[in-house]
């Protein structure tokens, strides 16, 4: 076989596989949009569920999910970014750092239900937060912490050392170098970690199962110690253990569509943030 034919065959296969992946994704999205778009209405998005969750809206669950995303990001993003900075910029390459790195990687591999149980034991019971937004947010925060640390580290690693030496040679301290040169340069890639985390947090069910999620709670939370409904859990409930599963099917599709739309919207926001920052430092 000539070089040219083998090249052609190889790329044909790659292209086919690429299209296959896109195809599956489009299929799933199309399926959900097709089944869910019918129930989406202003009322559906802004009212509480009614009649045993077979009709009405999903407003409390949307608010709950937004609270949990915000809460977990507020907790995990600064902590994760700072850990990443410490590991890449300050700690050198000693045994301790390698140990921390292995541990964070392992942390990333723990099943989310384990985080849920851990969160229940620690935040709900030991800290006596009860089932609450704060307990759920902290649990979800722990879940995404390894992801944020990892992406921060990678983002920092991608910055050539010449910028660090250039800054230090001018009498800047390490902290000034990180804050004024390195972090702004790495920020767009760190935001990528943020985007992945938002997607993960909004979709997780297991960690909120025992820490925050309410089966049915039509009123909105008034503080961080309140319980909330959340979209993924709501979806799970009405699809498996609602009062009338068949009757609530449209609501399930509508919830799924809303969840996907929220994640996409937040990703777009983060993308804009990323672009703005990228422009500013050029």
């Amino acid at each position: 076989m000539s070089k040219k034919t083998s090249q052609k065959i190889a790329f044909f296969i790659f292209r086919l596989l690429g299209l296959l992946v896109v195809g599956i994704l489009v299929w799933i999205l199309g399926f959900i949009v097709y089944n869910g778009i019918g129930v989406i209405s202003w009322e559906f998005l802004t009212s509480a569920p009614s009649e045993g969750m077979t009709s009405g809206g999903i407003f409390p669950a949307i608010v709950g999910t937004l609270c949990l995303v915000a809460g977990s990001i507020v907790f995990a993003f600064p902590l994760g970014v700072m850990s990443g900075i410490y590991m890449n910029e300050y700690a050198g390459n000693g045994k301790l750092v390698r140990f921390i790195r292995i541990m964070t990687n392992n942390l990333g591999g723990i099943p989310s239900i384990v985080f849920g149980l851990f969160g229940m034991a620690l935040f709900v019971n030991a800290f006596k937060f009860g089932d609450s937004i704060i307990a759920g947010s902290l649990t979800l925060g722990l879940l995404i912490l390894p992801l944020i640390i990892r992406t921060t580290e990678e983002a920092l690693k991608a910055i050539p050392d010449s910028f660090r030496t250039g800054s230090l040679a001018l009498g800047a301290t390490r902290l000034q170098t990180v804050a004024r040169i390195i972090l702004p340069m790495a920020f767009p890639n760190i935001v990528t970690g943020l985007i992945l985390s938002i997607g993960r947090v909004s979709g997780e069910t297991a960690p909120i199962l025992f820490t925050v999620a309410a089966y049915f709670l039509p009123k909105l939370p008034t503080g961080i110690f309140d319980q909330v409904m959340a979209l993924p859990y709501h979806l799970y409930v009405i699809a498996t253990s609602g009062t009338d599963i068949e009757a609530s099917r449209p609501v399930a599709y509508g919830s799924a569509l809303t969840l996907i739309a929220i994640v996409l919207l937040m990703n777009m926001l983060a993308g804009i943030l990323r672009k703005c920052f990228g422009k500013k430092i050029k």
Partner: protein
């Protein structure tokens, strides 16, 4: 004045500098030459303690600037680096505007007065013979400048914090001949106010810009003398061989 006394330097087990003793006078240009890996860059980086950043690096002996041991515990490294500026092999401007690149050193060292900063930036750019080329582009990104302009920008950046010593690590090796000659002219000008130490692999450049030349090989200072003497009639055969290109 820069002086070293029996300096030894190690990267882990590797003995990179061996018993180096040298004296460099104020307001002179000293060129350090030698084959790649001979220790010139390592030696240069002793004076602003850039080698501190490397794990497992060790130094013994004394390294004095104006009589003060710069490796003494009481020395603050960032203060030292204000006095000893450095220009690197590859131009490394920050992803900021031309103006902010030069202002950076001032800002991190606590300058806040706007008119002082802009005056300082202009002076430094003039000193680096770049002002006329960039006066209309101060707000543009430094990455839009040519390689030679970027390197002069890095020199301006180093000058802005008014160091007394300027370390240059092959500052023209990544530049075209025209930019190189500009940098060399600049070195001639800067000599009046700064003590300059320059590492170069370009013999002619060493001969053109420097007053004194040190020849390094395998971590040893083989010969250190007036540049004229080194290039016309060196004492050591190894030096002769190197500058005539018979090896290295």
């Amino acid at each position: 004045m820069i002086e070293t006394q029996d300096v030894n330097f190690y990267y882990g087990d590797f003995h990179a500098l061996k018993n180096i003793s040298i004296k460099m006078e104020t307001n002179t240009v000293t060129a350090l030459i030698g084959p790649s890996g001979c220790g010139t860059s390592t030696f240069l980086r002793l004076f602003n303690r850039m080698n501190d950043l490397i794990d497992n690096a060790r130094i013994s002996g004394k390294c004095l600037i104006d009589g003060q041991d710069i490796y003494h515990k009481s020395v603050q490294v960032d203060e030292l680096r204000k006095k000893v500026g450095m220009v690197f092999q590859k131009p490394n401007p920050f992803p900021k505007s031309v103006f902010e690149n030069v202002a950076y050193g001032l800002r991190v060292n606590g300058a806040g007065n706007k008119s002082y900063i802009s005056q300082c930036v202009e002076e430094s750019l003039r000193c680096a013979a770049l002002w006329d080329e960039v006066r209309d582009k101060l707000k543009k990104s430094a990455f839009e400048l040519s390689g030679g302009q970027q390197q002069r920008l890095c020199i301006a950046r180093a000058l802005a914090i008014s160091p007394s010593i300027l370390l240059m690590d092959e500052p023209a090796s990544a530049l075209d001949p025209i930019s190189t000659s500009k940098i060399e002219e600049l070195i001639h000008e800067l000599k009046k106010n700064y003590t300059i130490v320059i590492v170069t692999h370009n013999m002619q450049q060493a001969a053109r810009v420097s007053d004194k030349t040190g020849f390094f090989m395998l971590g040893e200072l083989i010969e250190y003398n007036d540049t004229k003497k080194i290039f016309i009639n060196p004492d050591r055969e190894q030096t002769q061989n190197y500058i005539t290109g018979r090896f290295g």
